[in-house]
Amino acid sequence: MIELQGLTKRYGETRVVDDISLTVEQGEFCVLIGPSGCGKSTTLKMINRLISHSEGKVLVGGEDITTLPPERLRRRIGYAIQSIGLFPHWRVADNIATVPKLLKWPSSRIAARVEELLALFQLDDEGLHDKYPHQLSGGQAQRVGVARALAADPDVLLMDEPFGAVDPLTRDTLQAELARVHRQTGKTIVFVTHDMDEALRLASRVALLNAGQLVQYDRPAELLVAPANDFVRDFIGRADLGLKLLSRRRVEEYCRPAQRTRNNAIASAPITWQVDANDRPMALLGGRLGEPETARTVVNPEWTATPEMSMKEALSRMVWFRVTALPVLDGEGRLLGEVTMSGVMGHRS
């Protein structure tokens, strides 16, 4: 748990961080976001004392951070920045082992931990262990950076725009991986970004900063449906609000029971799924835009949904393939239920 109490940073007369108070609960993924110069990075760096605060207090795990020597504090808090932060003269394994070495772990324990992390980040099957940072791709280097931050198994992880320097495709993969690692490890993460989509995707709570002040600290969906003021509304972007909200929601939240049939007979419901003996959907009866309700459309794997898929993606598929419903499939391709065009509106928030 991290608690900021009236945290302030002054440089001369300028207050770059002005009286910020917020609490990041255990296991929370808190994203600090705001325009350039809003003080989000400074706030992050005050948590591990890379920057000393002028006023206020920071508590990590209930302890005032000024009661510990800065080096001891930092070894207990993971810290990841852009990939250039890797030590260029150390191999991948040595980079990951940075903090355990500082903590003087026995070498067998360090080696085991490095292997564990390489496996967690799916870096183990590429012979990366002995490579130098300049031999890695951007995405690999970034994974090594996050692995290094996690090496000594800290409760808290600070990340300063860690994915700022990678291409959009790689960033997408890295975000998915970070979300997975967060679910698996339950770490408390504080993450700085200026990318709202990244924030909405990863955060369990978003702290929106402007000119050194905390404007709103809320769950991502709340930020979208109940912005505190015009600044928040502007920063999120007035366009695409509905789609942004849907990008936060998953298909399973909208999934409802599907009407099934084993033959071509039209059932009473307007949309009916024809399934095979294994409950796999074969065809959609009705539910096709601009065609009679009796139309039979063969199910195409490109317009199916999974429970983890975002509603934005599901909606996109409905629009693209001109169907008013998608079958929701489990891992074996069996019909779990359906999401429908009209159901998109009917989410109980």
């Binding site: 890379l50 080096e71 070894r75 932060g85 030590f87 003269h89 903090v99």
Partner: protein, 256 residues
């Protein structure tokens, strides 16, 4: 990265270093055996072979002078460079840079003229001149080398809980080492050549036959001294080149 294309010139450089080293040792030990050659080349010159001191002794004395002066230059220069790049010494950076620059703009002959009345003739005044002369490249490159360490790397080191000493020893010095060694290389090469003027104030160096040849209008003496000094400088330079490569961590660096 094409390893084959890179290793080729590197291995030919090694062959060059080895063959020139062998040539140097052979000449140092066997220069006296070349007396008939010099007599044939310079029939009018008598004597055509410098024989007041063995070339082995002259070379060893020359090397000793360069070694001691370089050790002093490097320790003082690196220490000064480190000091002015720490938070405590940052304000002294312009002062130290200027002092080191003055040390090099001072002609070594002038330094000798000033130091001889104080310290007498021979080894010591030459040492002082060489130390001053060799300081600048070391100081400059130490400051420059430490300056090349990316700020994000330093921030990552601090953020991961390294102390100032650990950052210096584990991160800054290894990463700056290639540039620092390049400075040492320049300093040592300069001093191998400059040490010869020590012979004008009585220090025993490979400059002794050169000075004697210039004073006595004896070209073979000059050639014999100059060939050895030149060869010594080239061999040392090639050796440093190999040393520098060990500390390059960028593209194509640590492939070996």
């Amino acid at each position: 990265m094409n390893v084959g294309a890179l290793s080729r010139p590197r291995s030919s450089r090694r062959a060059l270093l080895i063959s020139l080293s062998v040539l140097l040792i052979a000449l140092v030990v066997g220069m006296e055996q070349l007396a008939p050659l010099f007599r044939a080349l310079f029939p009018d010159q008598d004597p055509a072979m410098y024989e007041r001191e063995s070339f082995l002794n002259l070379t060893l004395a020359h090397l000793a002078l360069v070694l001691v002066s370089s050790l002093v230059s490097v320790s003082v220069g690196v220490a000064a460079g480190l000091f002015v790049t720490r938070p405590a010494g940052r304000e002294f950076e312009p002062l130290v840079s200027t002092l080191a620059a003055i040390g090099q703009t001072f002609p070594p002959a002038a330094v000798l003229a000033i130091v001889v009345p104080v310290a007498g003739f021979g080894f010591v005044p030459t040492l002082v001149a060489l130390v001053l002369y060799g300081l600048l490249p070391v100081v400059q490159n130490t400051i420059a080398g430490l300056g090349t360490v990316p700020s994000q790397t330093l921030e990552a080191a601090r953020g991961n809980g390294m102390s100032a000493w650990q950052i210096l020893w584990r991160i800054e010095l290894p990463l700056a080492m290639r540039v620092i060694i390049a400075g040492v290389r320049v300093s040592v090469i300069i001093n191998i050549g400059t040490a010869t003027i020590g012979s004008t104030v009585g220090a025993k160096t490979l400059g002794t036959p050169i000075i004697a040849g210039l004073v006595g209008n004896n070209l073979p003496y000059v050639v014999q001294g100059a060939v050895l000094v030149g060869l010594l400088a080239i061999v040392t330079d090639l050796a440093f080149e190999r040393l520098e490569q060990r500390f390059s961590f960028g593209e194509g660096g640590n492939a070996e």
